[in-house]
Symmetry: C2
Subunit: 211 residues, 2 copies
């Protein structure tokens, strides 16, 4: 029998569900709530290391996660953007929109970008909605500059990089982040545990059974 | 004891994994391969209905999926884009990059956009890599125009919408799509089953046990 495309169940020979998969159904399948964990801090503060450690701990608990960072965003989706003010805002806007889509897909999304300006982080919070968790990776500038894992501070001091956060461009400290990690008192593993503890408190993930 | 952030295991009091979660690990957790199912066809051809039906069938089999379409992309990530040639290419580029990220997160991603030009779909295929599955929703223009679910063809004929695919702008038919769905011979459910059958053949998802 020749049929036109139709959503009438009688035209179907398989079980037919007319509705799209809902966020509630994805949540039930995953066994955890989706959220966006927005890491912010200076270059070299440990954002990426801590975000990866959190991602690993969550994955090992069976959570569905993804981490957006400079490596997978700046060279892909945002490769057309420079570093002036307009590009900076557009960079954060797109990362926010992608995070929102991934949250909608049921994932626990991490974003590890310096995101130095309060207004930009407020925009991210507003655009994303849902569970938005700002995690301030609080490492003193002197310590970041001492580490300088990519040699960027040295180049910034030499004037080879302009508008470098902490040197020639401000870092606006978060006023009331959901999680405040003072890295001088913590290992990466302890820092990651602090984030997981917050996710448990907020019942985004289940608490581990201590038995 | 006060410690600086470090990735040395001896600084940690929890089990420590230094590496990021890999695509292979996500695949093992999900029990299927990730891929991007790129639906293309005229406005009103049934792309969105069929894509949603596939998404539902996959979800009900325990697959991890997400569907990108005009509703969640044009009003969010791509809200700054118009409809001229440059914007059209940028629209496809961003959808491709987001699909790539989601594929990297282990998801079976569907994209339901007219995407009328061969060059744009070739760009998507190239950017995304991995398993790229072009699904041509082949519904004759006369049929699409007869349905006209959003009244767009009527507006296009009246000259109220310019560059409307099929009326005042070409639709370039896919030359060798992975899946070719002739909707005049199929119900939505049958069309969705055809896509699932292809995913099974390619071993992206497991075949259903017939017992």
């Amino acid at each position: 029998m020749t049929e036109n495309v139709s959503d009438k169940p009688e035209n179907s020979n398989v079980v037919w569900h007319p509705t799209a998969v809902s966020p509630a159904e994805r949540r039930a399948m995953h066994g955890h709530n989706p959220c966006v964990i927005w890491y912010t801090g200076l270059s070299g503060s440990g954002k990426s290391s801590i975000a990866n450690a959190v991602d690993r701990l969550l994955f090992d608990r069976g959570c569905h996660t993804y981490l957006l960072d400079g490596d997978n965003v700046r060279h892909g989706l945002n490769r057309d953007l420079g570093f002036d003010d307009a590009a900076r805002v557009e960079n954060i806007r797109r990362i926010s929109e992608v995070s929102k889509l991934m949250q909608n897909a049921g994932l626990i999304v991490g974003t590890a970008f310096i995101s130095p300006f309060i207004a930009d982080r407020a925009l991210a919070r507003e655009l994303i909605g849902g569970h938005f968790i700002e995690v301030f990776i609080d490492t003193p500038l002197a310590e970041c500059e001492k580490r300088d894992p990519k040699g960027l501070y040295q180049k910034a001091r030499a004037g080879e990089i302009k508008h470098f956060t902490g040197i020639s461009s401000p870092y606006e400290t978060p006023i009331s982040p959901e999680v405040h990690i003072r890295t001088t008192q913590l290992s990466i593993a302890d820092a990651a545990a602090q984030v997981l503890s917050y996710l448990e408190q907020r019942q985004i993930i289940a608490s581990l059974d201590l038995d």
